[in-house]
């Protein structure tokens, strides 16, 4: 099994190369992309089953030992993230195929999308700090292209901001990686904990903060989130869906890894402040907006705050809740953006002042929006409630009552902004028009979408619901993943064993 650890990353890369070769044959390209991501998903599930039954999966690239070469280390946490990520990528791919079926597809979309998948896979499975930087670069480079795919004015404008901000993030991360190497002489995440612990306290805090700034920019936490609500809404809906679901979460994943593995005994007070402010500012930003995509984009920021809260509280219970939050957030957030894509596909806009009465036109669309929206707001019995309950319990147990109160208030405000979308877009009169023939009013017909778009959205919403139904077993899995993380020594021993 160990040799197969990089497969979820390598398959999409091979697929990207093949899809680029097959750029003149859209049908072949689609088949390649679907096959690569399905293979990745199957492999990720196999890896999850293996980590669950046996132990860590450690792939040493080129057979080098962990201290020199790159190792792919897949523990339960990484395997869970891989499965959820590949599932989301696959569903969004199906949605994009449906959207492109009308002939507007770009030759470059499939290859770049697969490269993005490879970057996400590498980010989740690497056990090497520099390789983490490289996988960030892979997924960022792909995201630059995807964000500016249409090349129109608004995409270029927001894309420029996005590229520059993320370039600065890469530079900060690279400097941090260089400093870590200069201070410790290694970049393997298995060797680093012992070597970092031997360093002077001030130096260690400096390194920790540099990594935190870099990953915080990626994850869009409070002072570093400004680029996200500006850039994400300009891309096409499936692209925004996959960005919203995955990219920031890779940043959160990296924060969890570094904070629990490399700087386990560090002081997390600053993270508590960051978490509280991210939740509040994000949700207030969402309430102020007037467009579905922008409201949802600000929600990404707000929800990141909850995950950072779990990391800041620390301890197995809070980390377990954070992992469950990640697992719940990726499909739910993506499905909301996919629903937004359906709205935009049938009405041509996502502005609340131009939308009205959608629930009369399509009850299914209303249901597809309502279920993940309630889940995101944390209404029982949905998965968002379970995730937030876990965080709140952990917060109260560790004596962070004030932050728990903030989290609950933000949850209510999330519901308010979801109601804003609901009232603005789904309630009200359908916009009827006068018939030119006899002056009678014509009610717009029920919207129709290509089958893959609807199927993908239904599947994503279904995944969210399945997480609510199977919350017990999934939460148990997250707790086991969290107890793995709480015992970094096992990770270190396994990776360094020759």
């Amino acid at each position: 099994m160990n040799e197969l650890a990089p497969v979820p990353t390598v398959l999409p890369l091979i697929g990207a190369a093949l899809a680029l070769l097959a750029r003149r044959h859209p049908a072949l390209q689609r088949a390649i992309a679907l096959a690569a991501l399905t293979g990745s998903l199957a492999m990720s599930i196999a890896l999850l089953v293996h980590t669950e039954r046996h132990d860590l999966v450690i792939g040493r690239i080129g057979g080098w030992s962990a201290s020199i070469g790159i190792s792919y280390v897949i523990d339960r946490f990484a395997a869970i993230m891989l499965v959820v990520a590949m599932l989301t990528l696959l569903a969004v791919l199906v949605f994009a195929i449906g959207e492109h079926a009308r002939g507007s597809g770009s030759q470059i979309f499939m290859p770049v999308y697969l490269v993005l998948a490879a970057g996400v896979g590498a980010g989740f499975s690497t056990g090497d700090l520099f390789h983490l930087f490289v996988s960030f670069e892979i997924l960022l480079m792909a995201s630059y292209v995807l964000l500016t795919l249409d090349g129109n004015e608004s995409q270029i404008r927001s894309g420029t901001t996005y590229v520059i901000v993320n370039t600065i993030e890469s530079i900060v991360l690279l400097v941090a990686v260089g400093m870590v190497y200069a201070a410790t002489g290694t970049l393997s995440m298995a060797e680093l904990p012992a070597r970092l612990a031997a360093l002077d306290g001030g130096l260690r805090t400096g390194l920790q903060l540099m990594l935190l700034v870099a990953f915080g920019l990626k994850a869009a936490v409070f002072p570093l989130f400004f680029w996200l609500p500006d850039s994400y809404p300009t891309a096409r809906s499936p692209i925004t869906a996959v960005f919203a679901g995955l990219l920031t979460k890779v940043g959160v994943y990296a924060i969890v890894r570094t904070q629990t593995l490399l700087f386990a005994d560090a002081n997390h007070t600053i993270l508590l402040w960051v978490a509280g402010l991210t939740m509040v500012v994000g949700v207030l930003g969402a309430i102020a907006q007037n467009e579905v995509k922008r409201i949802l984009s600000f929600h990404i920021v707000s929800q990141i705050g909850y995950m950072v809260l779990g990391i800041a509280i620390g301890g197995p219970a809070a980390i377990a809740a954070t992992i469950f939050f990640l697992v719940h957030q990726i499909p739910v957030k993506s499905s909301l953006f996919l629903v937004e894509g359906l709205i935009e596909h049938s009405t041509g806009t996502s502005r609340l002042d131009r939308l009205s009465g959608l629930s009369h036109r399509s009850g299914m669309l209303a249901a597809l929006f309502l279920l993940p929206a309630l889940s995101l707001s944390g209404i029982p019995p949905f998965s968002g409630f379970v995730a937030k309950l876990g965080l709140i319990t952990a917060g109260i147990d560790s004596g962070h009552g004030a932050l728990v109160a903030v989290a609950i208030a933000c949850s209510l405000l999330t519901l308010v902004s979801m109601m804003k979308i609901w009232i603005g877009a789904f309630w009200g009169e359908t916009t009827a028009s006068m018939s030119p023939v006899d002056g009678s009013t014509i009610h717009p017909a029920a919207p129709r979408w290509p089958v893959p778009m609807v199927a993908a959205t239904v599947a994503m919403v279904g995944v969210g619901l399945a997480l609510s139904v199977a919350a017990g077993p999934v939460y148990g899995l997250c707790e086991r993943a969290s107890s793995d993380i709480a015992d970094p020594q096992h990770y270190v021993d396994m990776v360094l064993r020759r």
């Binding site: 520099f130 292209v145 420029t160 260089g178 500006d230």
Partner: protein, 139 residues
């Protein structure tokens, strides 16, 4: 560790950050280039001591090869990034004749709307105050 190289890293960072503060995308690309080179040099300076060629069997006094491998990767990534940024600048120029980095339009629109509604509310309040004051004077 060579002082000259350390100073050079500082100079590259300073000039790079200064160039990135501009609105013109071309200057930002130049800034990214300078900053990227500064980081690469920093990796070399901080990561390894000068030494011999690290060949198998002659490792006595050899330099550490890992930072160089890292820098090589970083150079390739930086090259791709700059190429993409230049393409963006070109596209921006063909679209609207300049390569300025602009503000968030939707954000400005919301702010303008807010300012307008505050102005309207203030005008209403002033009118109300004048009405009450006018009545008081009239009595």
């Amino acid at each position: 560790m060579s002082i000259a190289l350390v100073v050079l890293v500082g100079v590259l960072f300073a000039t790079g950050v200064y160039s990135m503060m501009h609105r013109s995308l071309t200057r930002i690309v130049l800034g990214v280039g300078l900053l990227g080179n500064g980081v690469n040099l920093l990796l070399i300076v901080a990561g390894s001591r000068p030494g011999g060629v690290p060949l198998v069997g002659q490792l006595e006094g050899a330099t550490d090869a890992i930072p160089q491998a890292l820098v090589l990767t970083a150079i390739v990534i930086g090259f791709a990034l700059q190429a993409f940024l230049l393409a963006l600048a070109w596209r921006s120029w063909t679209l609207d004749g300049n390569d300025e980095v602009e503000d968030d339009i939707e954000d400005r629109r919301l702010a303008a709307e807010l300012r307008r509604s505050i102005r309207i509310a203030e005008a209403a309040r002033r009118a109300e105050r004048d009405r009450i004051l006018g009545r008081a004077v009239g009595e």
